[in-house]
């Protein structure tokens, strides 16, 4: 309710600050603003982003009245099937033949890095929302990439630090055997060691393994206090399920290094209670997030994940910047975005750093026990808020040339 009034008010305010731009003078290429969205729409990551992520983008456009600076806003949606080559080819086609002005990238780090390359070559704005890899703003940073929601560094700093501080000194990792898993394990290992903890071992499992009991018994015989799950989606879900079945949870505490609310929903609170996880957003954070989430719920019969909220926010901020700049020229829009604080249902006081990271608060959460949960999807207690830059890569650590 409140939010419906807020958005037009904010847009009017923004327009007033930056000067009203008459529609006739707005420099919009092709007389239409085109947003492309390429994500996993059907595979193992389709619930955390997927088709509902596309709808979140459309919700943002609808909240702005369907047009910006007098020009219609259109959305193109495609499934990359978790294949980097498909994602890159689609992005190239859209930039070349469809006149896409801005690309929102969904889940899967491999596809995200591939799309970032294409956007850089075509000099188009690329906002990566669903991918985890910190390489997007580090080794492979680009002047046209904005990494919007989270990255492996933020996840590691959040959960790693908090768990060591809470007494979890010795760690064992269960790691998905591909680029994302090893990077998450390495990032977390560094954080754990810096905080005074130690890593006693790790086991790498193949992606989409059918049974985790064998890996879990190895983890248990390590006698470590904490089992760090450096995997995602179905692999995390089945690891947690088997850990409960084999009683591992009685001797070790589980730390999910990348878990989304959909994973917790799928497993149920009985299997996940007490787990720590780090995320960029939680639907039940405050009155504003609740109001927006209930609108989302009416459409999808489930609460939004952090990624879906970030899809919404990224679109809203992009279009607001287009309006303020009076142009959809990528350089002008990005400059506009960089000088404006991001304040919406997703982020408070967020800003885009020179390495492309959108800096905002991250949250350490603990999963509630079933009797503490007041309603469906009421799953987390926010234990700690990492303010501003606390969760992100520092200038001393970065390998991004543009931010050195």
């Amino acid at each position: 309710m409140m939010f419906k009034k807020l958005v037009p008010a904010a847009t009017i305010a923004a327009a007033a600050v930056f000067g009203m731009v008459p529609a006739a003078q707005a420099q919009i290429s092709g007389d239409v603003i085109k947003i492309g969205f390429i994500s996993d729409l059907s595979g193992l990551y389709a619930d955390i982003d997927g088709p509902a992520g596309a709808e979140a983008i459309k919700m943002a456009i609808a909240d702005l009245g369907g047009s910006v600076a007098g020009k219609k806003v259109e959305v193109l949606v495609a499934d990359h099937q978790n294949k980097p080559d498909v994602a890159a080819a689609k992005a190239r086609e859209w930039f070349d033949t469809q006149g896409v002005d801005m690309l929102v990238g969904g889940t899967n780090s491999g596809t995200a890095l591939a799309m970032a390359k294409v956007a850089q070559e075509k000099k188009k704005l690329y906002i990566s929302v669903g991918a985890a890899t910190s390489a997007l703003t580090n080794e492979q940073c680009s002047p046209y990439t904005v990494h919007y929601a989270y990255d492996t560094t933020a996840l590691a700093k959040g959960t790693g630090n908090a768990v060591v501080k809470a007494g979890g000194k010795s760690w064992y990792f269960l790691t998905a055997d591909y680029a994302f898993g090893t990077q998450l394990q390495n990032d977390t290992t560094a954080v754990v060691k810096a905080a005074g903890g130690n890593v006693v071992g790790s086991v790498r499992h193949p992606l989409s393994a059918s049974d985790f009991s064998s890996f879990l018994l190895q983890a248990q015989s390590s006698k470590a206090q904490i089992l760090g799950l450096a995997n995602a989606g179905g692999d995390t879900i089945n690891s947690v399920k088997a850990a409960n079945e084999f009683g591992i949870t009685k001797t070790m505490k589980l730390a999910g290094l990348l878990m989304f609310i959909n994973d917790v929903h799928s497993l149920g609170l009985k299997a996940t209670q007490g787990m720590y996880l780090t995320d960029s957003w939680y639907w039940n954070r405050d009155a504003e997030t609740r109001a927006w989430s209930r609108k989302f719920f009416e459409k999808f019969k489930r609460m939004p994940s952090s990624l879906q909220a970030a899809d919404y926010s990224a679109t809203l901020q992009y279009l607001t910047a287009v309006k303020a700049a009076g142009s959809d020229d990528p350089d002008k829009v990005l400059a506009q975005m960089k000088k404006t604080k991001i304040n919406d249902v997703y982020a408070k006081g967020g800003w885009i750093r020179d390495d492309g990271s959108m800096i905002h608060d991250m949250y350490l959460m603990q999963v509630k026990s079933p009797d503490k949960s007041n309603e469906p999807w009421d799953y987390y207690n926010i234990v700690e808020t990492f303010k501003g830059e606390a969760a992100w890569t520092t200038k001393a650590e970065t390998k991004c040339a543009a931010w050195k």
Binding site: S208, S210, Q218, G234
Partner: protein
């Protein structure tokens, strides 16, 4: 005492887990072997039927409160009926042409089924609880074994041996085998061969569904659960010898054990060890370990 640098107790524990997974492989490859042996169809829809079986169990518990034990009977019947429809409307047109068509058709059916379930239920999956009677775990001295896993091994051995006995040692089984060798002659004896073939496919589908119900409490019920497993199961059938019932049972259990040990000594290779063995077996014995040389 240590075996290959691993304490004996841990070694036994891992072997036992391998046996549990081997039981699933055995039960799934058994259905495939029955269908291929008697119909000559490479049933790529087997993984999807397994997934549908698990979903029938989940759905009937969620919507109608039907418990696990009833689901063990209900799911194979429902999925068997689906099998009848598939056989009558689609598969029976393909018996006289190249087997590749049957493979492509069933592969297509599997993709359609997966797509429909994904649309309806999403990909995160649903949790199915362990039935009350089998909750808890038993301390075996060398490891804590969840009671449900022990039940899986027991149930799958009963099903596998029962199927083997029916086909290899009973009159019904003899008729079935004769019907595949020479359908015309068996028909001449007054036996309804098309009906027999239809029921065989239904039974194979039912076996897949039964495995699905058994798996539901162990792993997350998920539209992709079948496709994650089916390729391994095909490798099991190829290693055992296409169409050999006993071969697929023994190979299933054996490969479960080998895979279990790989998970300890070189975990990264655990998803490919089965295929390495398949390649070696195909080079040395092209008809598979238990297959008859053509």
């Amino acid at each position: 005492m240590e075996i290959f640098g691993l304490p004996l107790q841990a070694f036994l524990g891992q072997l036992l887990l391998g046996l549990v997974n081997g039981s699933f492989y055995a039960m799934l490859s058994l259905g495939l072997a029955v269908i291929f042996g008697l119909l000559g169809i490479v049933n790529f829809a087997h993984g999807a039927l397994y997934m549908v079986g698990a979903y029938v169990a989940w759905f009937s518990l969620e919507k109608f409160g039907i418990n696990y034990w009833l689901a063990l009977i209900l799911a194979p019947l429902i999925v068997g009926a689906i099998g009848v429809v598939i056989e009558r409307t689609l598969l029976r047109h393909l018996y006289r042409i190249d087997p590749i068509y049957g493979l492509l058709l069933t592969f297509g059916l599997a993709l359609i089924a997966e797509g429909l379930f994904r649309r309806e239920f999403g990909v995160s999956g649903q949790s199915y609880p362990v039935p009350e009677l089998l909750q808890g775990a038993t301390d075996l001295g060398f490891m804590i074994l969840p009671n449900y896993r022990a039940w899986v091994v027991f149930a799958s051995l009963v099903v596998c041996l029962g199927t083997w006995f029916t086909i290899e040692r009973t009159r019904l089984g003899a008729t079935l085998r004769a019907g595949t060798e020479n359908p015309n002659l068996v028909q001449a004896f007054g036996i309804n061969v098309p009906l027999m073939v239809m029921l065989t496919y239904a039974a194979g589908a039912g076996l897949a569904a039964l495995a699905g119900v058994l798996a539901a409490p162990v792993i997350q019920v998920n539209p992709l659960m079948g496709s994650n497993l089916i390729i391994v199961v095909f490798a099991v059938v190829v290693i055992g010898g296409m169409g050999s019932i006993l071969g697929s049972i023994l190979t299933g259990i054996g490969l479960g054990l080998v895979e279990g040990l790989t998970k300890v000594f070189y975990p990264e290779a655990s998803s490919i060890v089965v295929f390495v063995i398949m390649a070696i077996v195909l080079m040395v014995r092209p008809a598979g370990l238990f297959g008859k040389e053509a």
